[in-house]
């Protein structure tokens, strides 16, 4: 029987094309919009995690509480023991990256050794030289390097491209780093610019310098010490899992602190933070999910509204058919069921077409992106200048499921008018019509 009605459905353009188009457009818009929102937001999360917060971060609580002052004397010593502990007590397949966050003044001397240019910079030290290090891949430095090479020898640095322009320096030139040692003393050290990097984040391009971890430990007198351990999960892990592992690690940390390595200060107390705990990301994430649900919800509501009206118009257009079907002995329930199936099939076809368009457009935005560098230049937001959509299975599901649901719901709501009418009334309208 269903096949018989579908023949009619596909032949009658007025009852197929419009709902099909509404669902297709709605689904395409939801997929594109969710894909774009997730792309922008997840891009920001990835960038923040890669450079700054990790998915998890082990840090001395005393350092974290005064992080803005870069209190290097609160860094954690016993690098090897900490790595062993992290490997043993975190999740399998997690990659832990030791970092030193630092801040300094870069001074560029002229031929006479006088200051030619000078500016404060923020820096990050990480393992850039060891072959087993994942940092270059994680920070996508290969594609970001626009001049020079990665540091190979000692005291070489990578510099943000805009910072190099401000300082008027090029690859191969030397700069003097003037900073603060682990114990608060003044340190100066010369570095050679090995490469220039376009991070793609305006704030970093203007202020960021990367040096190798071993060089930083040497410069800042921090042998066997780092300020942070950033932990990275495989891409398949979700935010809930981050929290689960964090909780478990913090419980185990309390035991470890009671029998801490002997070089730790008495008040050293490492803590594990997730990305949600840092820079208010938790609240931002929560709001983002709410906004996303709200946007998807509005689209579903609008789709149902339009499809409901389309269903009513369609119902009026098909009163004759409905009256006839009831007169010929199709029960109300069967009629409504068949209409729901029609709505379902229209929804599935519309959603499939919408998914193809939506995925195509999202893929386009994922590959090409939108350059918003001018807007971000003054913002300091850690987000890539070229914002890209991200095509995820979640975005496709969030488009398709509501699209199909809206089609069925719209049809059913419109069918209520038929369901409430008696056969005789429909029959009279059939005769009048």
């Amino acid at each position: 029987m269903i096949g018989f009605w579908f023949r009619g459905l596909f032949r009658d353009k007025s009852r197929f094309i419009f709902p099909f188009t509404v669902v297709a457009v709605g689904v395409a818009l939801v997929i594109s919009l969710v894909g774009f929102m997730e792309g922008v937001f997840m891009g920001m999360i990835d960038m923040t995690a890669s450079f700054d917060s990790g998915h998890l971060r082990l840090v001395n609580r005393l350092y974290y509480e005064e992080e803005h002052l870069r209190p290097m004397d609160r860094a954690l010593t016993n690098q090897r023991e900490i790595r062993d502990w992290l490997t043993k007590h975190s999740a399998p397949n997690m990659d832990w990256s030791p970092r030193i966050r630092w801040a300094a003044i870069l001074d560029v001397p002229d031929e006479q050794g006088e200051t030619r240019s000078q500016t404060p910079v923020v820096g990050m030290a990480m393992d850039l030289k060891s072959p087993r290090s994942n940092e270059i891949r994680r920070l996508r430095l290969k594609s970001s390097l626009i001049a020079g090479t990665f540091p190979k020898g000692s005291n070489e640095m990578l510099m943000g491209i805009q910072l190099a322009e401000v300082l008027d320096v090029a690859v191969g030139e030397s700069v003097t780093l003037i900073g603060q040692s682990f114990d608060g003393g003044l340190v100066t050290d010369n570095y050679q610019i090995a490469g220039l990097v376009r991070f793609g984040v305006a704030a970093m391009d203007k202020k960021m310098v990367l040096i190798d971890l071993a060089d930083a430990q040497n410069t800042f007198y921090m042998e066997n010490m780092v300020t942070d351990w950033l932990g990275y999960f495989p891409p398949s892990a979700g935010f809930d899992y981050y929290e689960e592992v964090k909780k478990s690690m913090n419980t185990k940390l309390a035991d470890w602190v009671r029998a801490s390595p002997q070089d730790w200060a008495g008040d050293d107390f490492p803590i594990v933070l997730s990305i949600r705990d840092q820079q208010n990301f938790g609240a931002i994430m929560d709001k983002f999910w709410i906004v996303k649900k709200f946007v998807v919800g509005i689209f579903i509501f609008l789709m149902i509204l339009v499809l409901w009206n389309a269903g009513i118009l369609n119902g009026i257009h098909r009163y004759g058919e409905m009256g006839l079907r009831l007169a010929f002995g199709e029960s109300h329930w069967k009629l409504i069921f068949n209409l729901a199936i029609e709505g379902l099939i229209t929804g599935i076809f519309g959603a499939a077409a919408g998914a193809v368009f939506g995925m195509g457009f999202t893929l386009f935005l994922q590959e090409v992106g939108i350059n918003m560098g001018d807007n971000f230049a003054q913002s300091g937001v850690m987000i890539n200048d070229v914002v890209r959509a991200r095509l995820t299975a979640g975005a496709v599901v969030q488009g398709i499921v509501p699209g199909v649901f809206a089609s069925v719901a719209g049809t059913l709501v419109a069918s209520l008018a038929i369901f409430k009418r008696s056969e005789a009334n429909l029959f009279r309208e059939l005769e009048a019509g």
Binding site: D12, R325, A327, F328, G329, E330, S331, H332, A424, E431
Partner: protein, 236 residues
Amino acid sequence: MNETLITLERVSKVYRVGEENFTALNDVSMAVGEGAFMSFVGPSGSGKTTLLNLIGGLDRPTTGEVFFNGASLGNMGRSQLAAYRRENIGFIFQTFNLLPVYSVYENILFPLILNGRKESCVRERVESMVAKVGLTEHISKKPAQLSGGQCQRVAIARALVKDPLLILADEPTANLDSENSLQILELMRELNREYKAAVIFSTHDEKVTRYIRREVRLEDGKVSWDKRRDGAEIET
């Protein structure tokens, strides 16, 4: 003597129109035998269509009872009435009411599909029905490509294809010219003889009365005349 198919016992139907009550049928009683070929005749508002609706199980009487083969329609629920119509009743309408997106073949197939029959099992039956009403060469056409007379032939075939015991035809010739009307009436009489399905017309077309074997005249919701064509009055 044929067995009684339909019995109406003191049937009344009152509609509420605004603040007023309108009596469409008033204390109507009659019996209709199997294979009958009869009409309800009367002016507009006399209660013809209401009577057809009650017999067809599309509406319920305000008082009285309608019986089909001895079973009271009043005791049937909505789904039972749907099954009653699906299995026993064929409808023919003044405005044909063919499904515009379906072909002649598919329109005739439609009641069998509602009865849960598979198309492959009833294809021959539908095609022979198309042939019976003389539309074989138009079998793939849509209703919009047919004349009024041809549309009504499709409607007749659609009403008969499921072998109903009763066909209710509401003003079937009202939208047809004289020639087509006569052809349709001739066809219906032939099919009534062949298929033995009782046919009840509602009409005010005098031409119809020349073909039927029994005429029930309605005035203001009451039976004013119930006669066979041979002039014999029928007791109710």
